[in-house]
Symmetry: C2
Subunit: 223 residues, 2 copies
Amino acid sequence: MWLIHQFPLCPFSRKVRLLLGEKGVGYELVREHPWERRDEFVDLNPAGRTPVMVESEKNITLIDSVAICEYFEETVEQAPMISGTAINRAEIRRLTAWFDQQFYGAVVDPLMNERMLKRLVHRASPDTGALREAMKAANGMLDYADYLLDHRNWLAGATLSLADLTAAAHISVADYLGGIDWRAHEQTRNWYSGLKSRPSFRPMLAERMGVIAPPDDYDKVDF
Amino acid sequence: MWLIHQFPLCPFSRKVRLLLGEKGVGYELVREHPWERRDEFVDLNPAGRTPVMVESEKNITLIDSVAICEYFEETVEQAPMISGTAINRAEIRRLTAWFDQQFYGAVVDPLMNERMLKRLVHRASPDTGALREAMKAANGMLDYADYLLDHRNWLAGATLSLADLTAAAHISVADYLGGIDWRAHEQTRNWYSGLKSRPSFRPMLAERMGVIAPPDDYDKVDF
Ligand SMILES: N[C@@H](CCC(=O)N[C@@H](CS)C(=O)NCC(=O)O)C(=O)O
Ligand SMILES: N[C@@H](CCC(=O)N[C@@H](CS)C(=O)NCC(=O)O)C(=O)O
């Protein structure tokens, strides 16, 4: 049985869980808060980051969400998520990297710091300037997603791909933390509504991170 | 003919150039300074980042060094750099991500800010505290590389892989900017000396970034 070391608001873990859900690979969750830097966890992953996947019977440890997704793409045929021509695959990987790095860096990471870590770890109030910046960045980046979805069925082309799962993972965490204003983003909202209703997505929307409550519409398919 | 939009000290562009060099794919360089945010460049890559590769006859644009390396790995058989079992490939991608994100974030990015951007763009002096932190981080991370190379011929296993090219790309930029103290890192130093003597690496070591001069030993195979 695969174990995923993660916490409910880790977007990289959500991405992996969505991919495994689409592919029908079973797993169990192990709660890990990387900011605690537990010795046993750092021994498992010297980078000290979630997600980490372990299959102890086969003695396999997988680290880094991109490496993990590529691994299951290579080993499980069902529901290909990095498919098509080499050019299609490059476009999927470009957008995956864009969400993992730029959307995460400008939107998700500051929201997690201000609304999650300050509350759970530092017992401090969020910096409203930082929150405003993150929400502004989210807005600009969703404009780009709207633009892509004006031209394509899915973010990277004609079929559902890892780019969509990655984007939905990051957007869902930003949404949980109150960072998304859906009003001006009809295309992305329709696309996200479709993703939310998938069986791979529904269980994740029911999970909560301690005392931090999401907005009312967070888990609704109509929002 | 492939064009690479880049500047000499961009580690992600160096990684791509090393891979293309090993695979024998020809290319021409186009100088781009992403911090200038030229309109034409942002039109080409909305993320505003180097490297970008363009093949205009075939109407192909490739963005993001990971997507680019996977593309050439899939389309050019020669000199496989993400090879072996799915587990070997996951290990190559784990270490590639580790250098691209953690070594870059804690070492290369601050060195580029303090020693390159402050000099070329802001006309300011480097912050010696930030430089010290970056050099300390480099030291800790090279300890981990030493540990890996104590157990393996190459960083990710028995053969030269994208993990080595990625690590060498980032380390070479940090070395150019005076951020590496080689004294306590014999294993990594021997490994790096071997890489420096490869035909894919030599031309890059001869390039200079404007007025910024590297240390004397920077381009020497014996250092
Ligand atoms: N490139 C990694 C990034 C993982 C990552 O940054 N995880 C965060 C949690 S969402 C973390 O563990 N941060 C703690 C740290 O960086 O020390 C991946 O794709 O898996
Ligand atoms: N994930 C990208 C990262 C590229 C990157 O960060 N490039 C730097 C130059 S070394 C850049 O363009 N920075 C400007 C910016 O982020 O605005 C890749 O692997 O290609």
